[in-house]
């Protein structure tokens, strides 16, 4: 259970003060997938950073499983917009890093890493260094690295934005499959409403900066979902329209 209670976050001081987040209250149920959507730069990533314990809120508090988050939250796996791969490590050593940190033997961690490498479609790239991979491939490496150590909560910040449409669908499929098996709590930041509805149980729309909750919409699509077909159902269409109506206001205001 993740609870954001009256969260506000201000960066900088004096004339450079920017309010990124303002009075956000949000409760995220365990084992649910929640998509956060809103104009870019509105402070959604800041919320993820606070759940991960990397930022402290200026006001309010973040509760994780009943405890206040005061330091780095090691229960979460965090996939940031930047892939944060270690450039001096090969693909397989990057992916196996979490297990290396817990002292798993080389053989065991390589075996697990290889299985994931296959799932994210990077066979043959085990010994390459991140700098020789494309942006999309690096994203997949960092996804595999996060999935490897099976955190209870996944924080995903636009994880699939750099991928082409086909690959994105494959990754959606993979994510939902793993979620069915492992039942993590997933908080997903995205710009893509279709992606949000396809994956999530609930879509939370944020206003433009400073981020406030503008809309909180349940997605009542049956599971398991076929990530390729679900978008063509009537139910999907209705959900999409009702969220889009509200989301458009934020973009419209931005344009004026």
């Amino acid at each position: 259970m993740i609870e954001l209670q009256g969260i506000g976050k201000t960066f900088g001081a004096g004339a450079n003060r920017t309010k990124a987040v303002d009075d956000v209250n949000l409760t995220i149920a365990p084992r649910s997938i929640v998509a956060l959507i809103g104009p870019s730069g509105c402070g959604k990533s800041t919320l993820l950073n606070m759940i991960a314990g990397l930022y402290r809120p200026t006001v309010g508090k973040v509760m994780y499983d009943g405890d206040k988050v005061t330091d780095v939250n090691t229960d979460v796996g965090y996939m940031t917009q930047k892939d944060n791969l270690l450039p001096w490590r090969s693909v397989i050593d990057n992916i196996a890093l979490p297990l290396e940190l817990t002292g798993t033997s080389r053989e065991a961690r390589y075996a697990q890493a290889r299985a994931l490498i296959q799932q994210v479609g990077l066979d043959g790239f085990e010994d390459k260094y991140p700098s020789s991979l494309s942006g999309g491939m690096r994203k997949r490496v960092s996804l595999a690295r996060m999935l490897l150590y099976r955190p209870k909560t996944l924080l995903l910040d636009e994880p699939f934005a750099a991928l082409d449409a086909q690959l994105r669908l494959a990754m959606h499929d993979l994510l939902l499959k793993l979620w069915t098996e492992q039942q993590q709590t997933i908080v997903l930041v995205t710009h893509d409403l279709v992606e949000a509805i396809t994956l999530a149980d609930r879509v939370v729309v944020f206003t433009k900066r400073p981020a406030r909750v503008a809309m909180d919409q349940l997605v009542n699509l049956p599971r398991p979902r076929d990530v390729r077909e679900v978008r063509f159902t009537k139910q999907f269409h209705d959900t999409h329209n009702s969220i889009w109506d509200r989301l458009r206001e934020e973009y419209d205001e931005e344009r004026i």
Binding site: A52, V72, T74, N84, L86, W88, P98, L101, S132, Y149
Partner: protein, 279 residues
């Protein structure tokens, strides 16, 4: 109408020829370039020999043949090896001590903001000091033997390595550190698996640029007060007006410096394979 066109053609043809020629010279294979380099070196030696024969008194510039004769004499009676060993040994020992202290100090201050701010003005003040001016003090403290040379080399090395290591540690991407912290990394693991590898190229810049200074420190120490080493040889040759001896000792020093550089280069390439790969 035709004439200018023709002129243009010949001009561009000449340009093309010129371009091709310069390309062939610049694109010479490594082996071919080595031949050119050897020829150039030989040419310089011939000029030097000729100059000492006809232009300048060999008292001042000696001559290649004399220098070679001296090198052969030193080698055949074995006397040179004592000096080479003394210099190389002191260089390595001084470099090693300075490098270890510099890396350890740089990392320590790099990860402790309080001490780095506290010590900052003192470090810069001491760094601005020309360290060779410490030679007389060091000789006083460590004696005329090898220890004072080691100390001078170490003092020169430690700051270069320290400053680079410190910058390298400060440059580490905080996002990478946060990433592994979320994966439950301990402090020591963050240091070993993120901070050190990330700072490695900076540390190497420090090591690479300081190795010649280790040699400089030792040579200066030997010139000031010693009875062994290549610096002592240069100093003795100079005071005896023996230019051939001075040139011979300088030649050996140059060779040692070149070998040291190659050594650092090779070890850096080994350790930073991930960078070489994508070059």
């Amino acid at each position: 109408m035709n004439k200018p066109a023709a002129v243009e053609t010949t001009e561009s043809e000449a340009e093309r020829l010129e371009a091709r020629q310069s390309r062939t010279l610049a694109d010479a294979s490594t082996a071919m370039m080595a031949v050119y380099q050897t020829l150039f070196g030989l040419l310089l030696l011939v000029l030097w020999q000729a100059a000492s024969q006809w232009l300048i008194d060999p008292f001042f510039i000696s001559s290649p043949l004399e220098v070679i004769a001296r090198l052969v004499a030193w080698t055949s009676d074995g006397s040179i090896f004592v000096h080479i060993w003394a210099t190389v040994y002191a260089t390595f020992l001084g470099f090693a001590i300075g490098a270890v202290l510099g890396v350890v100090g740089g990392i320590w201050l790099g990860v402790s903001p309080f001490f780095s701010r506290l010590l900052n003005p003192y470090i810069w003040a001491f760094n601005a000091l020309p360290k060779v001016a410490l030679a007389p003090l060091l000789i006083l403290w460590f004696g005329l033997g090898i220890h004072s040379k080691v100390a001078l080399a170490a003092v020169l090395v430690v700051f270069l390595v320290f400053v680079n290591t410190f910058s390298g540690v400060r440059e580490v991407d905080q996002d990478l550190i946060d990433g592994v912290r979320l994966m439950k990394a301990k402090r020591s693991q963050i240091l070993m698996k993120v901070i050190l590898p990330s700072a490695l190229s900076w540390i190497f810049v420090g090591l690479k640029s300081s190795l010649p200074y280790a040699l400089i420190g030792v040579i200066i120490g030997e010139m000031i007060a010693s009875n062994k080493g290549l610096g002592y040889l240069v100093q003795r040759a100079g005071s005896e007006f023996d230019t051939a001896g001075a040139f011979a000792a300088l030649t050996i020093i140059a060779v040692i410096a070149a070998v040291l550089n190659e050594f650092v280069q090779a070890s850096q390439e080994r350790l930073e394979r991930w960078k070489i790969v994508n070059r």
